[in-house]
Symmetry: C2
Subunit: 208 residues, 2 copies
Amino acid sequence: MENYPSKYLEIAVNELSKLPGIGRKTALRLCLFLLDQPQAFTRTLGEALIRLRENIRYCEQCHNISDEAVCRICSDSFRDNSLVCIVESARDVMAIENTAQYRGIYHVLGGIISPFEGKGPSDLTLAPLLAKAESGKIKEVIFALPANMEGDTTCFYLYKKLKPFVDTFTTIARGIAIGEELEYTDELTLGRSIMNRTSYEMPLNNKN
Amino acid sequence: MENYPSKYLEIAVNELSKLPGIGRKTALRLCLFLLDQPQAFTRTLGEALIRLRENIRYCEQCHNISDEAVCRICSDSFRDNSLVCIVESARDVMAIENTAQYRGIYHVLGGIISPFEGKGPSDLTLAPLLAKAESGKIKEVIFALPANMEGDTTCFYLYKKLKPFVDTFTTIARGIAIGEELEYTDELTLGRSIMNRTSYEMPLNNKN
């Protein structure tokens, strides 16, 4: 039991250490750092967090984080909205957007089906996705969900639900990361990367 | 350059990543965690930080963090207030208090002399310490400052200042940590631990 010299410090350490990856020692270090900064620093931080949580909205079409009723991606007329990439969280959207390779739209489930954690289909944001599929607007669904039991279950559930309305279902390619060495790759990934091999293309500058 | 789906998210990530040890990826993970919690969670956290910074006070005698004008340690009449342990920060006080071995009082400098960081004696909280020494109330000063150039400089400076008024100056013992193996100890520590060896005492249960 630590003996905090101030109840304000103790409360702040308690609250901070509820965050994932932040233990009591780190929380104390952060609090002492804040005490060394001008008051405005902590006020700006605290208010930014409160404002984030209270003002955040979710796109009513794809359920991505958004400041508007419809997010920038869904309202972008240059996007192919017949191509829908299904992801677990808003972080996955940011990761794919950062590649600048994808010109379709997304659907953020806000979780995956996990009986172990008591999460079923009703905990996912499926209504706008199903409505869009039923209206016949979706040509291809890309599953970009985790490669584990929960991800597979979720893919299977969505496949069954969407199959009557969608022609093509794909999943993102699993394989050896670029720059990774074969000997350090797990067998499952290596096995899949051989099964799902792609046709060899000669580098452009060697073609003649 | 990351592309945040919401300006509230971007601002919160910016603010969080100003904290030491928290990069933009961790900040984003923390923000998405907060979005998954009830609003009250973030409000409690944000307000705890703001309240900490705005209400914190420092003991007017030892400059430790305190909710009162004089801290619990300085106002404890069972403490020996002729014995003053000089430390860099409030965290050091907590560390020593957790040992439950020390019954004197403290003085928190709020930093150490570091010409490299532009910190001189005027940046330390020396006035109440000097006043206490000049009144002849301090019998022994214990230096518990970092074992580096800055710590040594600070000890030397304080020694010169306090020498006319204080009889005894000591520093905390440096040596091999209990449970640590000799072969993994740095030479400096090992060398000092041999120079500053203490007399051997037989374990109590073997005495007869």
